[in-house]
């Protein structure tokens, strides 16, 4: 089994999930509570990776972070290195690619929190941010956990985007799915079988945990 690729995928998926929680939660909050009428446009943009082929998304990301784009040039000037075919570039692409898997469950969980609880908190003199921290987040925790787990699992299995943006550099951008593809290409069916089985096992475990959380198999959070 290609442990190097597995370790890289786990690192990529963990970091992607952390970054997505940090930027996905505020986006979900805005989508849920903003009174703006045109917020459906933002909703549609966030959901684009669900329908776009990974190659299309990967291609645009490659152009956007390339050395000739303003973003890529800025990154190059600051860090002295380039984003395409690097782990960091992969991270940017993964964040965009898994965004809907974080934002949608969290947004649904925020929307399910009774608005009167927020108003009760405000009337008790508690600021909007503290209300978010003390009322919304605990009550939306199952949705936040679902969002995090799905992003992790989705990143773990991505293929097309990685190939477009990261290529196939062992220890830098060769993830599990790329490694399996390589093994099959070199007719190493035994290795491919092992690694695939590993991915199936992890994916199944992650999904089982997600659905168990939603069905409250374990009483981790009080019912709202």
């Amino acid at each position: 089994m290609d442990w190097q690729a597995i370790w890289l995928s786990i690192r990529l998926a963990s970091l992607t999930t952390l970054i997505l929680l940090a930027i996905g939660a505020p986006i979900a909050f805005w989508l849920t509570y903003s009174p703006r009428r045109w917020k459906f446009l933002v909703e549609a943009v966030v959901a684009l990776p669900l329908v776009l082929p990974p190659t299309v998304l990967g291609f645009y990301v490659l152009l956007a972070i390339g050395p000739r784009s303003p973003l890529g040039a800025l990154y190059g000037r600051i860090t002295g290195s380039m984003l395409p075919f690097s782990f960091q570039g992969l991270l940017v692409a993964s964040v965009l690619y898994s965004m809907p898997f974080t934002v949608q469950p969290i947004s649904a969980a925020f929307a399910a929190v009774d608005r009167r609880l927020l108003e009760a908190s405000w009337c008790l003199g508690v600021s909007r941010f503290d209300t978010f921290r003390r009322v919304i987040v605990p009550l939306a925790m199952p949705g936040i956990a679902t969002g995090a787990i799905l992003s992790f699992a989705h990143t773990l299995g991505e293929f097309g985007v990685v190939l477009m943006v990261g290529g196939n550099i062992p220890g830098v951008t060769r993830t599990v799915s790329i490694s399996i593809y390589d093994q099959v290409q070199s007719l190493n069916y035994g290795g491919a079988l092992q690694t695939s089985l590993f991915l199936v096992g992890v994916s199944f475990a992650v999904l089982a945990i997600t659905y168990a959380l939603q069905r409250r198999v374990w009483a981790i959070w009080p019912a709202s």
């Binding site: 009167r116 908190s121 405000w122 009337c123 008790l124 003199g125 909007r128 605990p138 009080p222 709202s224």
Partner: protein, 351 residues
């Protein structure tokens, strides 16, 4: 702390309903009742006062401090108004215990005492869904008071309770509100609740405040027909419980004794009689003993369409609404001596 709440604002809701209310509440009265039929805009007005809604135009001020003024663009957010808001279904935080709910916006040191005052100390470790509606109401009130509000706003605080609990809860609520020392505005559409809870009341109909004043005055002298219809022309008589036996209370009203159904009330109470429930006769001998009979004199007769409003002096003012036809048949005139008859079950006792 004798202050006042001034609220004069307009708000058009998405449904097309327009609220245009002018309200002055003197806050030396412990409890003010905002009374009116469902859909009159009472809850919206309460939300405007709390800062949960923004008026289209108008001004709201408490004790001289402006909370909202559309002309100068002032809008104090709910956090800084500190108007404790009690929601109809209490809105307790479901993921926090009773003690955590009460301590949510307060020092933990003070909450122990509040839990005891509100009789929920032994529920401290329970979650809101594991306690009864009456207990939830007390926890919500304790939580609001723990934040040291300048004003309490209660939206139909008893409507989520079942009927037997409501009676008791009404009594407790009145006591807790008076003891809290924080002026309260209570929204209700129940006239018995208004009488039992309120010192001062404002009647709201179709988005406007139609009358405001001491509770008894509003019930006895409705400003217009609309108010009279919504409050139900009521006689609200100060009374004292003198005796009770076989399920009946004996009430003394002035020099008259009235019988009423015993609901467990004691001491100083109000005997409430709808004017429609008062019958008039010149011949008290023919009435059954199960009925209350009050001798009095006709003060005035006012015809209102097919009905007539007869004001009597029975040692206290008593209003009867009877058909114009019966007034004609009895040839009633001001100054006539007669007897006002009220069924025992028509005397409602409010503490």
């Amino acid at each position: 702390m004798a202050g006042e709440l001034i609220c004069r604002c307009r708000k058009r809701l998405a449904s097309g309903f327009e609220l245009s209310a002018a309200l002055h509440v003197p806050l030396e009265a412990p409890v003010t009742v905002l009374f009116g039929p469902s859909g009159a805009g009472k809850t919206t007005l309460l939300r405007l006062i709390a800062g949960l809604e923004r008026p289209d135009e108008g001004r709201i001020a408490l004790n001289g401090v402006t909370w909202c003024d559309s002309e100068s663009g002032i809008f104090v957010p709910p956090q800084q108004r500190r108007a404790g808001f009690l929601f109809q279904d209490y809105a307790l935080f479901p993921h926090m215990t009773v003690a955590e709910n009460v301590a949510y916006a307060a020092e933990p040191a003070g909450t122990r005492k509040l839990l005891e005052t509100f009789g929920v100390a032994d529920l401290a470790g329970r979650l809101p869904r594991a306690i009864s509606g009456g207990q939830q109401q007390r926890v919500a009130l304790a939580r609001a008071l723990a934040a040291r509000p300048a004003l309490l706003l209660l939206d139909e605080p008893l409507s989520a309770l079942d009927a037997p609990t409501r009676q008791r809860a009404r009594h407790d609520l009145r006591r807790l509100l008076s003891e809290s020392g924080v002026p309260a505005i209570v929204v209700t559409h129940d006239r018995m609740e208004a009488i039992a809870l309120g010192d001062w009341m404002a009647v709201m109909i179709a988005g406007a405040i139609r009358q405001a004043g001491p509770v008894r005055e509003v019930f006895q002298r409705p400003a217009d027909a609309g108010v009279a219809e919504s409050v139900g022309v009521e006689n609200v008589l100060p009374a004292r419980v003198t005796d009770r036996h076989s399920g009946l209370l004996s009430l003394q009203v002035g020099s008259v004794h009235l019988a009423a159904v015993d609901g467990g009330e004691t001491g100083e109470v109000f005997a409430c009689i709808r004017a429609e429930d008062v019958a008039l006769t010149r011949d008290p001998a023919r009435t059954s003993t199960a009925r209350n009979c009050m001798a009095g004199r006709v003060q005035s007769i006012v015809f209102e369409g097919p009905l007539a409003r007869v004001e009597l002096d029975c040692g206290f003012p008593l209003v009867a609404v009877v058909t114009a036809q019966s007034v004609t048949e009895m040839a009633l005139q001001a100054g006539d001596a007669l007897c006002a008859i009220v069924k025992t079950t028509s005397v409602h006792v409010a503490e």
